[in-house]
Symmetry: C2
Subunit: 128 residues, 2 copies
């Protein structure tokens, strides 16, 4: 993919509770503010809209030819190892002119683990 990807999809699990989407909307807004030149969309595996195909179809229809999917999951489980590749394979077949990449889970990013650890230590108190 290019050094500057124009299609960014934040892929989250989804839940029945509408408030569940808030952190993902906050991340989307941060990324949109920094990348006003890009298409930045939230998409969900289940229970919330839009689904991943809907978001990717809309970005592809706008003429973007490179899309990166960022799974906003804490860790790699069945959803990312089994469900996501199947969905993306279907999207690649549907949009052969679009390159679609999949990033690892949030929990695979050392800087995010550091930020989580720092929050825990700030809250529980510093070491001896």
């Amino acid at each position: 993919l290019s050094a500057k990807v124009q299609g960014i999809v934040l892929f989250a699990h989804g839940a029945r509770d509408p408030a569940w989407a808030r952190p993902f909307e906050a991340i989307r807004d941060l990324v949109r503010a920094a990348r006003p030149d890009a298409r930045v969309e939230l998409a969900f595996l289940e229970l919330m809209q839009p689904a991943l195909p809907e978001a990717v179809n809309a970005i592809a229809a706008s003429g973007v030819r490179e899309i990166l999917v960022f799974p906003l999951f804490m860790a790699q489980g069945g959803h990312l190892k089994k469900d996501l590749p199947v969905i993306v394979e279907g999207l690649r077949n549907a949009h052969p002119q679009v390159r679609i990449g999949i990033e690892p889970a949030v929990g695979e990013v050392p800087e995010v683990l550091d930020a989580i650890s720092a929050w825990i230590l700030d809250t529980a108190g510093p070491g001896p």
Copy 2:
């Protein structure tokens, strides 16, 4: 709770795939390294061991009187709003001498959202 809590529980969802636990183990190890004076334990809602009651019981048995539960969930859904309070209420009844606090989800922590956004922007490329 005190400025320095001696019981720290990292509470994650759990999954069938053993590799799913890795990010949580990494966070636990970071916190343990910084807080060798504390009891720092992972616990799971389902599919993985130990369950939350098991971890809290073990920490309480060691004499710790203050425990903070950090939900390593991306967002607040039914698991944190319904399941977790019921489990913790049972633990408070079982251990009236132990103060047990519940922290918000990872996705409620601004510094974590910033770290996730920075990862996305680093990967997809900077703004215009």
